[in-house]
């Protein structure tokens, strides 16, 4: 069944988009991530312009992270104070990101920027995750206990001023790295149409030593607010959010996420991280391939304005 998308200005098969929402929702529930880094490329692949895809996926991620955040809230597994702190910087990052998005679109370099940031981020993060989980796997094979969090071990980050105590997460850190992380996630999210969960979770674990118990819930709150505000900002400045497309994606995503969570809970942590790492890395390679290999068509069209 075809449905006409009012902003993307093209008809799509409703079941195809719904299926994509389900599949990405499944993966996002399984790994506790938004799944934007998968959804945006998929939408571009079925012919939706990158700009509309990035702007519409933001609202889809807002929906699925809200579902997740509610269930973590019920389990008391999120740190509101830390989330608010990250958010104050995240919104500024989103605003700067949306501004740069508009500028790059005018300069005809938006597609390149999206492509390049996908390649660098995904291959780097994916590679790191694979490396880390393979090492953890080897350690457990040898019978050594996996030690992710070493209490008392401090990095230079802990020497910075403006220290704050986050009770729920049981950490005492400077506000500077917290703000920096919030800003980076908000900024990247707006430009790339990703929630940044797959970046935020490792950053919180490795840099701030947030315990695993509260990290996913907290990251979901941040994702929710940055993506909801990205939706509003993209709609207000670029008029590119396709509500019809977003609605179909959300419905699929929310249902898929529920099944993903159940599958994810049956798997071991290291195995799950390895799978996610491989997935992230593969998507990164796919983008690298597109940038490097000679395109079929050197020319492309862009609408400048009506009239």
């Amino acid at each position: 069944m075809q449905i006409y998308l009012p902003i993307a200005d093209l008809p799509v098969n409703i079941f195809l988009v719904l299926g994509m929402g389900l599949a990405v929702g499944f993966i996002s529930g399984m790994f506790g991530i938004g799944g934007g880094f998968l959804m945006t490329p998929l939408l571009i692949f079925i012919g939706i312009s990158p700009a509309v895809a990035v702007a519409s996926v933001a609202s889809h991620i807002a929906a699925s992270s809200f579902t997740g955040a509610i269930s973590y809230w019920r389990k008391r597994a999120l740190d509101v104070a830390l989330a608010l702190m990250l958010l104050s910087a995240g919104i500024v990052g989103t605003a700067v990101g949306v501004w740069l998005f508009t500028k790059l679109r005018e300069l005809d370099q938006l597609d390149l920027m999206i492509g390049l940031s996908y390649v660098t981020l995904l291959t780097a993060v994916g590679g790191m995750m694979i490396w880390e989980s393979v090492r953890a796997e080897l350690r457990t094979r040898k019978g050594m206990p996996a030690t992710l969090r070493r209490p008392g071990s401090h990095t230079w980050l802990h020497g910075l001023p403006f220290k704050l105590r986050f009770k729920r997460s049981k950490i005492y850190v400077s506000a500077i790295p917290v703000w920096a992380i919030g800003f980076i996630i908000g900024f990247i999210g707006a430009i790339m149409g990703i929630g940044g969960g797959f970046l935020l979770v490792p950053m919180l674990i490795y840099f701030l030593r947030v315990p695993t118990a509260t990290v996913i819930g907290t990251s979901m709150v941040l994702t929710l607010v940055t993506m909801a505000s990205a939706t509003v900002m993209h709609a207000a400045t670029n008029h590119l959010v396709d509500a019809m497309l977003a609605l179909i994606l959300m419905v699929g995503g929310v249902i898929g996420a529920q099944f993903g969570v159940r599958t994810g809970q049956k798997m071991r942590g290291e195995r799950l991280r390895l799978l996610l790492g491989l997935l992230v890395f593969a998507v990164g390679l796919r983008f690298a391939y597109e940038l490097v290999v000679s395109p079929d068509d050197l020319f492309s069209l862009r609408h400048v304005r009506a009239g």
């Binding site: 069944m1 075809q2 449905i3 006409y4 009012p6 902003i7 200005d9 093209l10 008809p11 609202s59 889809h60 807002a62 929906a63 699925s64 992270s65 809200f66 579902t67 509610i70 269930s71 019920r74 005809d108 370099q109 597609d111 390149l112 390049l116 993506m227 909801a228 939706t231 509003v232 709609a235 207000a236 400045t237 008029h239 959010v241 396709d242 509500a243 019809m244 977003a246 609605l247 959300m250 419905v251 929310v254 249902i255 996420a257 529920q258 940038l291 490097v292 000679s294 395109p295 068509d297 050197l298 020319f299 492309s300 069209l301 862009r302 609408h303 400048v304 304005r305 009506a306 009239g307």
Partner: protein, 260 residues
């Protein structure tokens, strides 16, 4: 002297039809549908243009065989064609040309290839065929069309053709009798909304003898219209409502699937 003047007059009378549309034939055209509605189930539409060639007054004889060229132009839009080049191993948009007020839809339909219907000069003057249609580009502060083989112009026409928005079909017009014809106008699913102009030109032995105009409108209706208008006119409110919808669906999902 009088003889010369008479000869000139006769010559003029003979030459007159080649100078412009003569009054001998009249075109009567009718479009199957003047208003195409883009609804949520829109997957494109085929319009049919019917018409007949009639004598302008009962005594003038018709002069078949006729040739017919129908040009359908959509709403004007400024487009940019970009060219990628390899920079440091990565493909980047380096060069671009702006096509100012180019038709967002362009169909040139005829009963046989336009090059066989009339001479190159007339084709250029009447802008018949994709190669002869005027597509002005911006050069600094000036506007001008380029040669047909300009790579940016060629790429522009090729990309639009690939999307089904530009087409030149030399079999789309059928003469049912020597004077009655029908033309199929395909509107693809991605057809832009707005007003379309239809220009019909009739040729006899390589000379334009008559022309007619018609128009059609492609409009979004129902929810599509509503959503598109809201997105453009009330961006902030639209964004807030979309974000709210996201929260609602997220909340709904957690309620429906709640297990604890």
């Amino acid at each position: 002297m009088r003889r010369i003047a008479l000869t000139a007059l006769i010559a003029l009378a003979v030459l007159a039809p080649s100078c412009g549309p003569a009054a001998a034939e009249r075109l009567v055209v009718s479009l199957s549908n003047h208003r195409v509605a883009v609804t949520s189930s829109f997957i494109g539409e085929n319009l049919v243009l019917f018409g007949t060639v009639e004598p302008d007054n009962a005594r003038t004889p018709l002069r078949p065989p006729y040739d017919l060229v129908v040009t359908v132009t959509g709403p004007r839009e400024t487009m940019r064609t970009r060219r990628k080049e390899r920079v440091l191993g990565v493909w980047i948009n380096t060069d671009s040309r702006e096509f100012v007020r180019a038709p967002s839809y362009l169909s040139i339909l005829s009963n046989r290839p336009v090059a066989e219907i009339t001479g190159q000069d007339a084709l250029r003057r009447l802008q018949l065929g994709l190669d002869n249609f005027l597509l002005p580009q911006r050069f600094g502060s000036d506007l001008g069309d380029t040669a047909r083989d300009d790579p940016f112009r060629a790429a522009f026409v090729r990309l639009e053709t690939q999307q089904g928005l530009y087409r030149e079909a030399s079999t789309a017009v059928t003469f049912l009798t020597p004077t009655v014809f029908r033309a199929a106008i395909p509107l693809p699913a991605n057809v832009p909304t707005g007003s379309y102009a239809i220009d019909v030109k009739l040729f006899a032995r390589g000379v334009q003898v008559s022309s007619a105009n018609s128009a059609l409108e492609v409009i979004k209706t129902g929810i599509e219209q509503y959503v598109a208008d809201a997105a453009h006119d009330h961006g902030l409110l639209y964004g807030l409502i979309t974000a709210l919808m996201a929260l609602l669906i997220g909340w709904f999902g957690s309620v429906v699937f709640r297990r604890d």
